[in-house]
Amino acid sequence: MSTTVPAAAGEVRAEADRQDAPAAAPARRQRMTDRARKERNLGWLLAGPAFVVMLSVTAYPIANAVWYSLFDFRLTDPDGRSFVGLGNYATILSDVLFWRQFGVTAAITVVTVAVEFVLGFALALVMHRALFLRKSVRTAILVPYGIITVVSAYAWQYAFTPAYGFVNPLFGSDLDWFGETVPSLVVICLSEIWKTTPFMSLLLLAGLAQIPSTYIEAAKVDGATAWQRFRKVVVPNMKGAIMVALLFRTLDAFRIFDNVFVMTQGANGTETLSFLAYRQTITRVMIGLGSAVSVILAVLVVLIAFLFIKGFKVNLAEQRGA
């Protein structure tokens, strides 16, 4: 199984790999044919230009940010720039603000990804199984994802604003949703879930579509119940798709910014780590401190990706068509 449609060459290689599978790795390297080598060179040739562009637009700014993070540097005080080594990191990691915002970010991530996964799976099954109006169902489910986050954030904010929102009158409450931490976070999470569940379900649908119907039929013949088929056949066979869906959404959710920025401007303890980086870099123009926050955020993101890939024991590079 694979998350993309395998190209013809890929299929050929997949065949070769399958024959190789029992053989030890060094043996495989020795047996690399001319054709494989040529293919690899062609691959570099094709991907090379993009690789160079990627380096210049990502590697350079990242290196630059790491360098800046070692300075006490305020944009409005260029003369006061001084090298402080890891001082900025020490300030950040010893500041209770960082840990609180780390907690808020983690909470938002866990809640939204968990809810989105369950909802997204349900929607994916609906899309997969829909007997009629298939296209309309898929389109309807995908609509929220087509809306710009800032726009959806405003829509949710207006809906929950006590003065003119429709939510309070609907439930007969007079809660000031954006006046306290928990209700604010609830609305932020709801908006996030509403907006990105379709993305989750789309990735899961791709996984569902790749399970050969023969597997399911065989299980049926063997007398497996619907739940058993789901647990033992469907889920294990789309492990890669599940991991990709969870990983993408976790990384996205961990970098959440727009919803918070629009709805609370970070008030009432709703600030997230991206917001912290924004505040230091853009608002306070403390380039050094802000870069350090960004670097920490990037390290955390890499760490999450690493843990996911290790945890799921799926090597995406080795994924082949089923």
Binding site: A163, D176, F178
Partner: protein, 423 residues
């Protein structure tokens, strides 16, 4: 306006653009209406310069961010900029603004009201020519005040009196509790009215780690007391901790609205609300205004101060022309035009003697008085951090404590400025 725009283009065309020497200036404006001021100045300049405009975002913080980044990058197109006065010191200290010479300063100060003048100076040098000022007034419903036996028009009232009157009549007091610049305006007015200040007096020009806060005082405690009293009482409009100016106005327009502190723009907004049917016809007949409430009875209130100054960017390539343009933009004539079109109160005293202005702004005397006795927000190169800390320390209003809030905010402020804590 369209015609003027065309005229400006024609003038530019006749001048032959850059080659024949008519310098092209860009003015970063904070309000689209200022395009008309630029058009009028182009007409007046008769080809001496061509003033183009570029509109900044519509709230103070992102305006500052854009200007700051442009100037930090040495942007030569920033010839003129409409600058929110609290941010001027930061720009001036960084060397992003061209200071006005002593002679220019004297010329541009003439006839300017005290408040707008004070906030245009950093270490006694003018970096922004006062263009317009702004001040908050106490707005109230005559019927409500009468029922409570309060007459703010006769003599200045205190916050405590306003609170009591609202409690008696079951009405609300509209204030800005949202965690942004509006909250800072409120805190600063309360602290200053109580005779205190947010930063210690000699903080102008001090290095960040040496700046001291004067918040941990009786004035800081009084501010916390008044804010939490309102927020924890039935007189608080719904959503107080997220209410900005427009939310306050909506609360005031509601049936149980009684009092509100807000900028003068609300008068024209009431008019529009009447026209749109949002409030009943004749709503404004019951509305009156008075000077901003006192904190200490008998001691004149320090009125909130806003406005815009026009500065010249340090990297402009057309200094002389930019200066000419500043002269035109901030001339009393253009200030009057801006007051009538944008509704922003002029910074020069003489504008208020104009019958046309007096007719459009029946509360012109209260505005002029407010601009004279105003308390500018702290003038500091680190204002951004100062306001950020105060907005955190004094928010949400219902959780403030007069014992702990001032000291905690003051400590936090000093820690942020010396770099030991983040904001």
């Amino acid at each position: 306006m369209g015609a003027l725009g065309v005229a400006a283009t024609v003038v530019a065309a006749c001048g032959g653009g850059e080659t024949s020497g008519a310098p092209e200036l860009t003015w970063y404006i904070n309000n689209a209406v200022q395009v008309e001021i630029a058009d009028a100045c182009n007409e007046e300049a008769e080809g001496a310069y061509v003033l183009k405009t570029s509109l900044l975002p519509n709230s103070a913080a992102p305006q500052r961010e854009q200007l700051l980044r442009r100037l930090a990058a040495g942007d030569t197109t920033v010839d003129l900029l409409s600058l929110d006065p609290p941010f001027m010191a930061e720009f001036a200290n960084a060397g992003f603004l061209r200071p006005f010479t002593a002679e220019e300063q004297e010329e541009l100060s003439q006839g300017v009201l005290e408040g707008p003048l004070e906030q245009s100076l950093y270490e006694d040098t003018m970096f922004s020519a006062p263009f317009y000022g702004n001040t908050q007034l106490l707005w109230y419903k005559k019927s409500v005040a009468e029922e409570a036996g309060l007459d703010p028009a006769a003599a200045p009232v205190t916050w405590d009196q306003v609170i009591e009157a609202a409690e008696q009549t079951g009405t609300t007091v509209g204030v800005q509790g949202r965690r942004n610049e509006s909250l800072m305006v409120w805190v600063n007015a309360l602290v200053s009215s109580a005779g205190g200040s947010i930063l210690a007096e000699d903080s102008q020009g001090a290095a960040a780690e040496d700046v001291e806060s004067a918040l941990d005082s009786e004035a800081g405690a009084e501010a916390a007391r008044i804010m939490s009293t309102i927020a924890n009482s039935d007189i608080a409009p719904a959503g107080l901790s997220t209410a900005g100016e427009e939310e306050s106005r909506a609360a005031f327009q509601a049936d149980d609205g009684g009092f509100m502190v807000n900028w003068p723009y609300v008068w024209t907004a009431f008019e529009a609300a009447e026209a749109a049917g949002a409030v009943e016809e004749g709503f404004r007949d019951d509305i009156a205004w008075a000077r901003y409430p006192q904190v200490v009875e008998g001691e004149a209130s320090a009125t909130p101060l806003g406005g815009i100054g026009v500065s010249i960017g340090a990297y402009t390539e057309h200094e002389e022309a930019a200066l000419e343009a500043v002269r035109c933009v901030r001339s009393p004539e253009r200030q009057k035009q801006n007051m009538l079109t944008a509704g922003e109160p002029a910074a020069s005293a003489e504008v208020y003697d104009d019958p046309e202005v007096q007719e459009a702004f029946p509360m012109y005397e209260a505005i002029r008085e407010g601009l004279t006795d105003a308390a500018p927000r702290p003038i500091s190169p680190y204002y951004g951090d100062v306001t950020g800390v105060v907005q955190q320390g004094y928010h949400p209003p219902d959780a403030l404590d007069e014992q702990t809030t001032p000291a905690r905010t003051a400590d936090f402020l000093e820690a942020v400025l010396d770099g030991s804590r983040m904001l």
